[in-house]
């Protein structure tokens, strides 16, 4: 495989998956960030990928198009003694499920590792080629 081309492809994918993992980590960290009056609430973030043609290497590179915020309504829990409870005694939390985030994290990790393997494969290929002239 054209080593430069494969490095660009895998490198772009690694970067994109890395961003995805970071966003998942943010979501998990903010699972219990309570909605407070007058403060912008935390909304679940999602990474949107896009495919960009790199003409110089004739490859489709994966890139993060945007990190979008999900517009789902908050999860309400009844807790009238909470300092941030509203008039009905409900406290609002962002609509984030740790299980969903962790499943997403596993998927991102798997993709990340697969791309690392691709780089390793390209390195082996180059090594085999260099062995010809040894």
């Amino acid at each position: 495989m054209d080593f430069t081309q494969v490095m660009k492809i895998a490198g772009a994918a690694l970067g994109a998956q890395s961003t995805r993992i970071r966003v998942i980590a943010e979501n998990i960290a903010n699972t219990d960030t309570v909605y407070k009056q007058g403060v912008e609430p935390y909304r679940r973030k999602r990474v949107l990928f896009e495919s960009v043609l790199d003409r110089a290497n004739s490859a489709d590179l994966v890139q993060v198009r945007e990190i979008a915020e999900q517009n789902s309504p908050p999860v309400k829990k009844f807790d009238p003694n909470h300092p941030y409870a509203d008039s009905q005694g409900y406290v609002s939390y962002p609509d984030i499920s740790a299980l969903v985030e962790i499943a997403d994290l596993r998927d991102a990790e798997r993709s990340y590792k697969a791309n690392v393997q691709v780089v390793e494969g390209a390195k082996r290929f180059v090594k085999a080629m260099l062995d010809i002239i040894r």
């Binding site: 495989m1 990928f49 043609l53 004739s58 994966v62 697969a114 393997q117 494969g121 290929f125």
Partner: protein, 131 residues
């Protein structure tokens, strides 16, 4: 030694095929999360690439109207047909791509070794060495 030259072009063709297939596999793995992406692969087998002295280039994908028309496809990359779409309509199996890459690594190692041995053979002939 016309036969030796034939072996060279044979092996070179095989290396090109393996290299091209590896690039496509890398692309598949990179796009494993893109919604609507279909996994691609080269037509034919390794044995066929040896027989046909494979020489081709990937056709550039046109993802927007502003892209120039790509190079003519010698060995075309085709979509893998019998794959189950995921929820986001993505059709890449990471496992099969990984095994494919491992296989390509083995095959390229073998071809490189054969290429080297062939070269050594030619050198031996030219120098007039015995055994």
């Amino acid at each position: 030694m016309v036969r030796q030259a034939d072996t060279n072009s044979l092996l070179a063709g095989a290396l090109r095929w393996l290299s091209q297939r590896g690039s496509i596999a890398a692309q598949n793995v990179a796009q494993a999360d893109m919604p609507g992406f279909r996994a691609k692969d080269l037509k034919g087998t390794f044995a066929e690439s040896l027989k046909n002295r494979w020489f081709g280039r990937l056709k550039l994908e046109n993802t927007s109207e502003n892209h120039l028309q790509g190079l003519p496809a010698g060995g075309a990359a085709v979509e893998i047909q019998d794959s189950q779409p995921s929820l986001s309509d993505n059709r890449v199996f990471l496992e099969s791509e990984m095994t494919k890459l491992a296989e390509l690594g083995e095959q390229s190692s073998v071809v490189a070794q054969l290429y080297r041995k062939n070269h050594q053979l030619m050198q031996m002939v030219l120098r007039g060495q015995k055994g």
